[in-house]
Subunit: 349 residues, 4 copies
């Protein structure tokens, strides 16, 4: 089997789209058939991302110009709000396509919650009903059979991987979760905003969207589901002067457990996982360890405050936090080895 | 009055010492009389810090070579553990000297706590007894009359300025304070360590000393004093890929108060303070705002979790977190306007 | 004399304007009377540059709203092409105003050259005729009496300070000058462009405008004048992942001289200059030495190629390369000590 | 064929060694049999480079502990000066081993030149005689049959790839070559030096080793060979605040040619090369395009000075400038497809 699954990338001019292309080029089964980017249509991909000047890629076209009959699987890296209608159209005309969404459009199952956080009615609730939440390690079985996978946001990926096993095992109090999250600047995308200019974001550090980041309801949806009760999480993101990488520091109250219990729960949950690793005692995760790779690393430390623990998780926001997890899900959906095309180690230094 | 107070800087080859020199050069009353740096003695300051190649400064000498009779005030930027004996010697021989310590040696009042965290007995408990904790805004009166001032650590400065008024007013539960702290790399000093090489610390983010940072007992000492009860604080620092700047995000449970109450308490506490500013509602502090300046900015945001608040404070770790606060205390000790030599605005971009 | 010269800043929402404001706040004679920024009019300065949230400043207004009768001196940080008409209007109505232009509009004396490089006819050639080129060290006498000063571009400042004394002394062949220039990202301004996003400019290095940068004709104008013959210079700029700082490496063929002769020529030319320093033999300038300061440092090294020398000069592009030099010229124009408000040392680390 | 060639890495605790390990893990034929690092012997690789915590690797041992009978090919990333004796010992005992040296020890063919630049006599001139200079594109045939390959330095790689075709075609004057080189901080290695601390190298830019960098004689050796005459090159390196990446800007005098002739010469020389790409007219190479990849990109621009051209080349200093080129040579030596294990695209952003 060689390069025989034809993929299309919607939104190939964004960072998520570009990282998907990077991974697809290294994937033995993916053939890049279509790249869309409405604002850049007509250009060569190398004009928009010069690092692709050394390989052959289709030119960028508009979504409307795409011939979906020539595509087996679609990866969607469009901004939220635009994917719902496109997915509906594409899947209506080509029901055999597998649609792997990296946008936020199908992550929230409750239409009211979606409307509250995204400001408009959901436009494809029928598709929402069949969408599978693409947190691979916790939805593997459903993803295998899904047609539409809603890959989690980067923060939910890092947070949920490091909290769900603890909540499931009843080791922490779900009503007292505080997550202090830090992300590199690619998390803000490639559109032009003053706060992500080099001279603004460099040599500095800013909290943002405090108390109101759109990834909070997504985190809460999944934790509540596992906890069996409605949970509100304290979640605060910060913008860090680096391009890639995300680190979530979670402050937790244990319910009679010890940090060794927590670590054991992680080891138990992720023993056979190729991409989720539990740091040995004494090792603190850092984003450098996962830069450019699909790994998530999780560490557990006892707080000085009795009964409290600190859990730290790191991912590359564009890989495990987006394009890499999308490829991991693709592998499941096509019954490939889950690590196919994703074995590249971190680029450090 | 012009350049008539002769100062000495102990440890002028470190970052704290260098920033003190930078500020002293701009200070109308300070004359730099002596610069010591035992490992670099004999060199010109410009060889050790080339940015001083444009001004006249004394050459570096050893502590032993210094003639303290020619010095009115000493700023000490030595590593912890070395200051106690030097301070004892200097002050025994020259009791009129004012000693402004930027090291950790006189911050902890309890010798047992000191020993626990720094690994050896305190060597100058008599001096410790007279040392005043140099958090200017909260110890102003005592600092005015002090001979020995122990300037707070950078993290305690940022944390305490943003917590003490709330604890004092009983607005938050002191037993549930979680501080997620982030610092630029200068916080780790200038000595050679692998983790602060450019290629190691750049483009990445690391927690460190989780559950065991030496600034925790200092924070707890001051909060406990104000709270009237022993408090343990959850305090976790992270290393951020920037040189200067520190941001503390504190997660707090309010005791029936609202975030407006919290903001009002800050405004009330800091109304007349020249260097502590409360961000208006909707404005989030960022380290860029204070880079190179002596300001501390504090913001308050309601958490989504009912009853919880998020407080954010920023300082430049080398200025308000060290050399700047030392100069501010010097001004008090010499009955100068407290802002003398410290009015420079942030260097942004 | 205290804060008695009222200044206006045109274009206060750009980096050059902001750095002028920073310097003006520290200047004992300047009173900031007016800040204009047409695209941001109506906002407080602190909304546009949050680092100014701790001081009182006039709100931003449009150029048209400004009452120039309340202003003694104008600093103009507008983009090129817009200054000419504004200067004409302001100076026609208020002939007593001193106009210190930090834009490119009055730097080129030849209208044909201006048109070639900026794409339109010069709109105020009468003013151009009276404009003095604001390279302080080489036009000091004329600046003192000028009403309109055209401050040089950042690259011309760094380049000319390090070449003019050599050309004047006949020590190098002016027909074989190669300047490899490197600038921090603030040099590209604050307007939104994709190549200056953090994730694009960070961790990388790009040449730009190779063979066609608009600072080349300005450099050539001044070198030609001193050389007494038309000179074309090879000038190539590069974008460096730092915010501030500029370094020009000039590759020169000596005309029988030695590098010691070159260094002596610099020492001779700049012996009494407060802001231009010649590095001692063996010391290489680096931008860190001048960050945030008005200094220019120049170093000379023998090339291995016989008869060739390498000259290196560094400035902070926003200070000596723009706002600082403007203040230096202001001081001259008002017969103040030339260093007034500019004595701050570099912010390092 | 799968993981059947056993490799050893000498100096696995340095950046070059680590990048070799990263590439070897992705190489279908390489089995990592031995990792040495005398100063870190006894540790797990993950303790020294935590990014390798997710894969199985041999523990670090000393060179002396290594059993070379279990190794087919050796990659050597030791500091210069130590490789010569180790190579002699290893190859004497195990003459079948293929030795791919990434150090500087076998690059210079003239023992006098070696002694002049490295300060001691060459210790293995017999091996030097059989060593092949590993600039793949220009020594391919010899490399295929070599037992000992001396991979070029990073600067020589970027410089020579962008100059040799022009010299060979007689299009430029080899006596007037000026190379302004810029490198990321990994080029300085991982040993602890003050100038490469984050807070020293960040937000700044420094020239270094001006007129005396050890890569100059290597560049000259190869250019002289092609030119048929002794050439001295003006070569000046600069340290850039980024981890990876290298850009060389070469200023050239053409001998009657045009830049189109130059570009044509490059296209002609590199038409079939998988890793050397000539930028189309109007495209300027930037290091971001090749980060983490084995590509070299070359661009040509006409200078404004008549008869002069500017050539720009970029590589990742650790990949094409070191470990990547070493793997490329390994592939040749084992008759594998030259791109095996090296097809990964740049990590951007």
């Amino acid at each position: 089997m060689s390069k025989d699954i034809r993929i299309g990338v919607l939104g190939a001019s964004g960072y998520t789209g570009a990282d998907l292309v990077r991974l697809a080029l290294a994937h033995p089964s993916m053939q890049i058939a279509t790249l869309t980017a409405n604002s850049q249509a007509g250009k060569r991909m190398a004009e928009v991302f010069p690092q692709f000047g050394f390989v052959d890629l289709p030119d960028l076209i508009t979504t409307e110009e795409a011939d979906w009959s020539l595509v087996d699987a679609v990866f969607c890296g469009l901004p939220h709000g635009t994917t719902q209608e496109i997915a509906r159209t594409v899947l209506a005309d080509h029901p055999g396509i597998k649609f792997i969404d990296m946008s936020a459009d199908f992550r929230l199952r409750d239409p009211e919650v979606y409307k509250t956080w995204y400001g408009h009615d959901h436009l494809a609730m029928d598709l929402q009903a069949e969408a599978v939440y693409g947190l691979t390690e916790h939805y593997r079985t459903a993803i295998r059979d899904a047609r539409l996978v809603a890959c989690p946001g980067c923060y939910p990926t890092a947070t949920l991987l490091s909290l769900l096993p603890l909540v499931a095992a009843g080791l922490i109090d779900p009503s007292e979760i505080v997550v202090d999250a830090k992300s590199g600047v690619t998390g803000a995308g490639r559109s032009l905003k003053q706060n992500i200019l080099f001279s603004e974001a460099g040599e500095g550090l800013s909290p943002y969207a405090v108390g109101k980041h759109r990834h909070a309801p997504e985190i809460e949806q999944e934790i509540s589901k596992v906890a069996g009760t409605d949970v509100i999480v304290s979640f605060t993101p910060h913008l860090i002067p680096m391009s890639r990488g995300e680190l979530c520091t979670s402050y937790l109250r244990m319910t009679g457990a010890t940090v060794d219990d927590l670590r054991a729960a992680f080891v138990d949950a992720y023993r056979d996982e190729p991409f989720v690793h539990v740091a040995p005692e004494g090792v603190l995760p850092q984003t450098q360890n996962v830069r450019g790779s699909n790994y998530c690393q999780i560490g557990v430390v006892a707080d000085r405050v009795p009964g409290r623990a600190i859990v730290i998780s790191v991912i590359d926001n564009l890989v495990k936090g987006s394009a890499g997890q999308a490829v991991q899900n693709f592998n499941l959906m096509y019954d490939l080895d889950e690590t196919t095309g994703l074995t590249q180690q971190a680029l450090f230094p």
